[in-house]
Symmetry: C2
Subunit: 243 residues, 2 copies
DNA sequence: CTTGACCTTGACCCTGCGTCAACCTCCGAC
DNA sequence: GTCGGAGGTTGACGCAGGGTCAAGGTCAAG
């Protein structure tokens, strides 16, 4: 008679697996010898090979039992269902591979953000904006996309239009440099004035920005987000309503 | 400031998932308010969306952390590795589907056994051997294939050759019927004698069966297996050396 | 007699959360 | 003021399929 280790060797599974099958009720518990060791006969080898074969074919252990003693019609039906499950898993994994490939192509940004916003970030980098500021801008857009997904397309258009204006680009770069300034720095007041002027001109030109009404939470989060990174910017955004 | 439920809604994950990410250290634990509730700011939304994006792409949570803060070269390398893992999983599942399809085509037998033995079982069924005996024969071969895989091909050839002999087929059918006989039945002694005669003739013809030397364990298991199913057969196999 | 290989049960570890359980807290309605 | 219902909190168990200790009993050989 076989010990558990011999049984495992003969059938090509691990000792732990055999005991696991006992626990799951797939394999009958054999007699024990005087010292409490399990002693297996031929039937156990046969049963275990059947279990192993099904398990290696991807049949869930919870279905192995029914499958082994199933008459042909149920057997076929059960296999069809298992195959269906396997196909679904493969579809999921294939979709994951596509997403991973997207990530690899566009970095993380293209996947976190709608493409028109990723384009804005490309423009900012091309302008020479610091990576630190680009990241803050990006996070702002992630936030906006999460909180008010319906408005983000409009905002992105407005931002892109503003960035086409050389005066706005100058102001943006100035704000980038102002990041670390002391909130009491007199240059900051000057910059705030220039921002206000630009904003006023834009209003006159009829291209006023669409204000996000009814999104108090979104605006609050944006402001606290700015407050978290730069004192100077906080100061700026209190003086002029343009981030 | 957001509660955990609002954060979850905004980002499209479940509350349980957010807490899970805290446990895994992927998302920083935020401040608590006076009543112990978690209160989230904008950064949490940004971070959570990044985590969600990667997790949905099939990145294991254990790798999400490193991936989020990885510089581009490491980022790409990590993605390549993850893609490799995903491909391996898909290969496994595809292999499982093939095996499931094999199972569906040939029933369980074709997968548990080498094809030449499955063929033997087909012959037996065509002869009119009872399903009970076919199953015992099958289990015997499963056992043989597991215990002495190197010899099983030879034995299968010998068995197939024997089954081509009409006298052996008659004897086999007789043994099939003898399954339930009383071990003291005089017909059994008669059958044993016929078996011995056939065996002697085979020896004279020079087509003696190859004896499994050095496989005492295998023979013991076979014998106990026979003993477990039929007293009459046990009796037979003691009288004549042919199962 | 000791050593090393093998056996026993029991219990914790992995993934990615879902789903209780038991209790606390908030907010609007009465 | 108080009641209900919808939040929140921690803690624990569950899933598949075992891997990997831990602590100790058994066995054959040197």
């Amino acid at each position: 008679m076989l010990t558990i280790g011999q049984l495992a060797d003969y059938t090509g599974v691990t000792v732990r697996a055999v005991r696991h099958y006992h626990e799951r009720g797939l394999l009958a518990e054999p007699e024990r010898d005087a010292s409490g060791y399990r002693r297996y006969g031929a039937q156990a080898v046969v049963d275990l090979i059947q279990i192993k074969t099904l398990a290696e074919a991807g049949v869930p252990l919870s279905r192995v039992k029914e499958l082994i003693s199933a008459p042909p019609p149920e057997f076929s039906a059960a296999l069809a269902e298992i195959d269906h499950d396997l196909r679904a898993k493969i579809r999921d994994l294939t979709r994951h591979r596509r997403q991973i490939a997207d990530l690899a192509r566009g970095g993380t940004e293209r996947l976190f953000l709608p493409p028109e916003i990723a384009d804005i970030l490309v423009v900012l980098r091309a302008m020479g904006v610091s990576e630190r500021t680009v990241r803050i801008e990006r996070d702002g857009w992630i936030l906006a996309a999460a909180l008010t997904p319906e408005s983000v397309g409009v905002w992105a258009k407005e931002k892109a239009a503003a960035l086409a204006d050389p005066r706005f680009r100058d102001l943006y770069l100035a704000c980038d440099e102002a990041f670390d300034w002391d909130p009491a720095d007199p240059q900051l007041a000057d910059l705030a004035a220039r921002l206000a002027t630009w904003d006023a001109q834009r209003q006159l030109a009829g291209s006023a920005p669409s204000q996000p009404r009814g999104h108090a939470m979104a605006m609050t989060l944006m402001n606290t987000h700015i407050a978290a990174v730069s004192l100077a910017w906080t100061h700026l955004s209190e003086a002029a309503p343009e981030g």
